[in-house]
């Protein structure tokens, strides 16, 4: 480096401190303003859910109720709609979908990554094509088929379009490809069957990808509205978003205290899970990329 003065040194220390301070204030100003925009609905949801109707309808902006009305709002919400049942339905379909997705995708991904069999390339091309087809495209023929089979309004009808995740196959194949062949060959020489190799050797090594995919799958199906709206009309089977919709319709949007209480109960499970396993969620949803 030459002795020529750098631009930064030309400024007096006091000046540069001031500049630093202003730029910091600007950065945090933007971030805080954005954070308020992000958090406002959550804060307002929680605040409204503990306000009495009189305070809600007064239209005042108050971040804390004068009279705590949380017990009444939450018990009314629980009484008017089977909210815990909605949440349970959400758990059932998320677990069911994920279990089948993994059972189907893992062996297929292993076969695509490590085994030679006729039609392998064709299958892979079809998987890639499948990535371009949103679920709303095959929805209508699937609906007609399910209606003819008489299985609308069942958990099965809610889960079946998602049993195959082409995305899971694609993701796991990428992971399995980097698994060392030597270990697989050694396991074969030890007399392990391919079945055991998949589930006891290769699968545990892909744990990060599987965890990431599981988070992605659970978030997507807990929040999905389109398909349940089509196949479910029985409120007892509704997953959280559809349940919320039924509840909002029944309440005709007037009782905001109970509505926000219901929204809080149905949003809570995923948000709490997110706050606990923050890194897993962020990695899971971003690694899998396609929403």
């Amino acid at each position: 480096m030459s002795g020529a003065p750098l631009p930064a040194q030309a400024v007096t220390p006091a000046h540069s401190v001031l500049r630093r301070f202003v730029s910091m204030a600007l950065v945090h100003g933007v971030l805080v303003a954005g954070a308020i925009f992000m958090l406002a609905p959550f804060v307002w949801m929680l605040v409204t859910s503990i306000k009495p109707p009189a305070e809600i309808f007064s239209g005042e902006i108050a971040l804390w109720p004068k009279r705590f009305y949380g017990v009444e709002n939450y018990s009314l919400a629980m009484e008017k709609a089977p909210l815990l049942r909605f949440a349970l339905n959400g758990v059932i379909i998320c677990v069911g979908i994920l279990a089948v997705q993994l059972l189907v995708a893992i062996p297929c991904a292993y076969a695509l990554a490590k085994l030679r069999f006729p039609g392998r390339n064709l299958l892979f091309v079809l998987i890639l094509l499948g990535l371009c087809i949103p679920v709303q495209v095959p929805a209508m023929p699937l609906y007609i088929a399910l209606a003819h089979l008489g299985v609308l309004n069942t958990y099965f009808s809610m889960m079946v379009p998602f049993f195959l995740s082409v995305f899971a196959i694609f993701l796991f194949r990428q992971f399995f490809r980097s698994f060392p062949d030597d270990i697989i060959n050694a396991a074969r020489l030890d007399g392990m069957s391919e079945f055991e190799i998949v589930w006891r050797i290769v699968t545990p090594s892909a744990w990060p990808a599987i965890a990431a995919f599981s988070v992605f799958s659970a978030v997507a199906h807990w929040n999905d509205l389109y398909w349940p709206l089509i196949v479910i009309s029985d409120a007892k089977l509704a997953p959280p978003p559809l349940g919320m919709m039924f509840f909002a319709d029944a309440e005709s949007g007037s009782n905001y205290g109970a509505l926000t209480a219901a929204a809080t109960i149905l949003t809570a499970p995923l948000v709490i899970a997110f706050l606990i396993a923050r890194r897993r969620f962020i990695d899971g949803i971003t690694m899998t990329g396609v929403k």
């Binding site: 954070a35 958090l39 609905p41 297929c108 030679r116 069999f117 006729p118 209508m140 919320m244 949003t267």
Partner: protein, 307 residues
Amino acid sequence: MTLVLPSPARVAPAAGRRLLLERFTGLGFALPALALLVLTILAPLAVLVVLSATNYEFGAVDMDWVGLGNFQKALADPIIRRSLLNTLIYVAIVVPGGVLGGLLIAVLVHRRGKMRSVYEVIYFLPVTSTLIAMATVWQFLLHPSLGPINGLIKWLGFAPVAFLSEPTTALATLAVIGVWQILGFNMILFLAGLTAIPRDLYEAADIDGCSGGIDRFLTITWPLLGPTTMFVVITTMITAFKIFDTVAVMTRGGPVGSTEVLLYNIYLEGFQYFHTGYAAALTFIFLAVILLFSAAQTFSLDKKVHY
């Protein structure tokens, strides 16, 4: 397919048997996925092609061939044209808003030290929350007389705005909610991209006299983020084209059709009015629009991105 057998004759049977076993195992492992692929994607697509050329209505006993009639009808239908236009307007707001917003926040949050994870959680929260539940909350936030947003507007001395029942503002309001939902997701993707940029480059830029934040952003950060930006733009666009939830819950296409979007119209035609054949044609138009725009984006951005 060529089989290369090892030359010594006595090894051949064992190797051949292993190869045969591998082929059967491979097929067996792929079979459940293949069966589901046929049953839940390929066969429905084939059925959809056939349906789109008929006037079939769900529950009807007979149907007639109409050829490309459904497509001609759809392209001439003012409702479909409007919903296509509305979808494009929605996408045109959510993509720049969600991508540039996510980029801005990511650049500001990056290397923020202790506060970084706090901001990360806050901005990511809408991604994990149930949009339908939050849509109900937004509806209340935006309420003309009870909502705090209009409370604030009135306090500032302006007339209240009926965001969701005014045809001029309804779609833009939904787009803002769309940005709110996706911004944190894009921020995380950009943060991953930023982490991959080596620090030395910034030091080198400092030495070269390129010390201002904006200079550094334009000469280093932006070009090196190219591949990330391309990915973010395309995922945001696909998500935006699939807008349905907020329309179904908050506006149901209204007021006066100002928030009718493609997927909502497909839902209405296919599952409410049971115009199955017509809805099948609309589904293909929807798919074509998504694929066309993704391909166009990939091409145009690919030329500018230097890996």
